[in-house]
Amino acid sequence: MRSALERLSEGLTLARGAVERGGGLAPRELAALAERHGAHPDQVARYAELLGSREEAEGMLGAREGDVMRTLRANTLRVDRDELASRLEAKGASVRPYRHTPYGLVVEESPIPLAAYHEHLLGLFYIQGPASMLPVLALSPEGASRIADAAAGVGGKATQISQHNPRSPVIALDVSERKLMALKANASRLGAFNIVAYLMDARGIGSLGEFDRVLLDAPCTGEGLMPFARGRRPRPQGEVESAARVQVELLESALRSLGPGGELVYSTCSTNFEENELVVHSVLEALEDSGAGHFSLVDTGLDFGDAGAVEYAGISLPSQFRLCRRFYPHRHATEGFTICRIRRS
């Protein structure tokens, strides 16, 4: 019986081969594109292999901050979206509803930084990327009795879960004390009273009992943030492989913590196949083989995004992986993001 990590390694070997072959691009072309866009040649090869053409790869690499919608999330615990929009517009901003969400606003123009609005200081909104808002929608935690945010960071999604379900405990985990201090500030500002945060590695989530909803917005290479200056840096294949190994361990632990009928949303701010579908596939197969229960991919319920990838570097996945949702800066005007929803039978 092969472990999830062993299965992942087999996939990573195939992926590395495809990247070494340049994803179908010539070495000179790879180097030129990488240099032009501040990327690593491996990245260019990954995108060409994933998206199927040089033009698409370049479209992805060429996306910049201005190509991504600037969005915020109205804190519906305190204000509804329309009222917030009116208040921001009265201060000179131009906003419109982010129609894929019930509380998002797209900010077309603003005379001042979003963080400087009094409405922000008073907790009427949270600044959140357009794709970053989607995993919690896919999780649909309304009605769940115990929810975990397994890699909570500064609490953007944990406080979003509180908006959906302010009456059930939201268990937020992170290994960074600094991030949890920021989570504390965010919970206070936004009025999220149902979060219990633990300074711990999510690989130990099993010690906290069973959950009926788990969000694993896993630590990743952050390649989906390439459009932003803060996220633009070269990422060799080795970095992707290291991230995927950690992701497999996190996902396996998180899935094991689901109670019967429970659901988990796995997401990353990366569009790499290796960090997403391959991780999910490796873990689901290993869990199935080990008799740990039956897990299956289900529809995310999101009304946009591309289907999950089922072919990459000679790897073929079952068609159910199309149920995952992929978001690309140059196609969807969002950060690069991948979201999969998994149910335990």
Partner: protein, 195 residues
């Protein structure tokens, strides 16, 4: 304050102190929230947390001490309650006494960490505790102030979130203190805060 304070139910004396501070500002009190404490009773300062009952059961019932539960609402030091921003979150929409309603200019200045001058006060409701919830015209809470001579001194305001709240200094749950304190807020660099 102890280095390793444990989250626990508050003592009756602590609850009485918190209740009297809350009742100075809201006749309805804290609705639908539990109050938990961290820190040894009677020694140093005790941290006060406002927590949804489902989360307080979780935080008290687990074997592992949490880093945070609910919202950090206040500190009790030397028998005196220091209200924090989290208490305003807990009282959102229910503050009906012990408040100042300030005009737009005073709102902007207060959120820079400055005091409220008498000319900025539109309406004042007396506070037997001496602390005032500072509200804008929409009655949204901006922070806490205490009368000092002619002015209302800024104890803590919502602007601290940007001025210092995300620097990541500080310590775990029971040791959450300085970031929310008035001193931190008043020392911090002002930000551009539009009205």
């Amino acid at each position: 304050m102890p280095d390793k304070a444990v989250l626990r139910r508050c003592t009756r004396e602590e609850l009485d102190l918190i209740r009297s501070e809350v009742l100075c500002h809201s006749s309805g009190g804290l609705v639908g929230l539990d109050v938990l404490c961290a820190g040894a009773p009677g020694s140093g300062c005790v941290e006060v947390l406002a927590v949804h009952p489902s989360a307080s059961a979780e935080a008290l019932g687990g074997g592992r001490p949490p880093f945070l539960a609910g919202v950090h609402a206040a500190r009790i030091c030397g028998g005196r309650v220091e209200p924090l921003m989290g208490l305003l979150s807990a009282l959102w929409g229910s503050i009906d006494r012990g408040y100042l309603i300030v005009d737009e200019r005073a709102e902007a200045v207060f959120l820079y960490g400055r005091d409220v001058l008498p000319r900025g006060v539109i309406r004042r409701s007396p506070s037997p505790c001496g602390t005032y919830a500072v509200l804008n015209r929409r009655r949204e809470p901006l922070g806490w102030a205490r009368r000092r001579g002619r002015v209302y001194a800024n104890l803590v305001d919502a602007g601290w979130y940007l001025r210092s709240g995300l620097r990541g200094r500080g310590r775990p749950l029971c040791l959450i203190t300085a970031q929310d304190s008035a001193n931190t807020a008043s020392r911090a660099r002002p930000i551009h805060a539009p009205t």
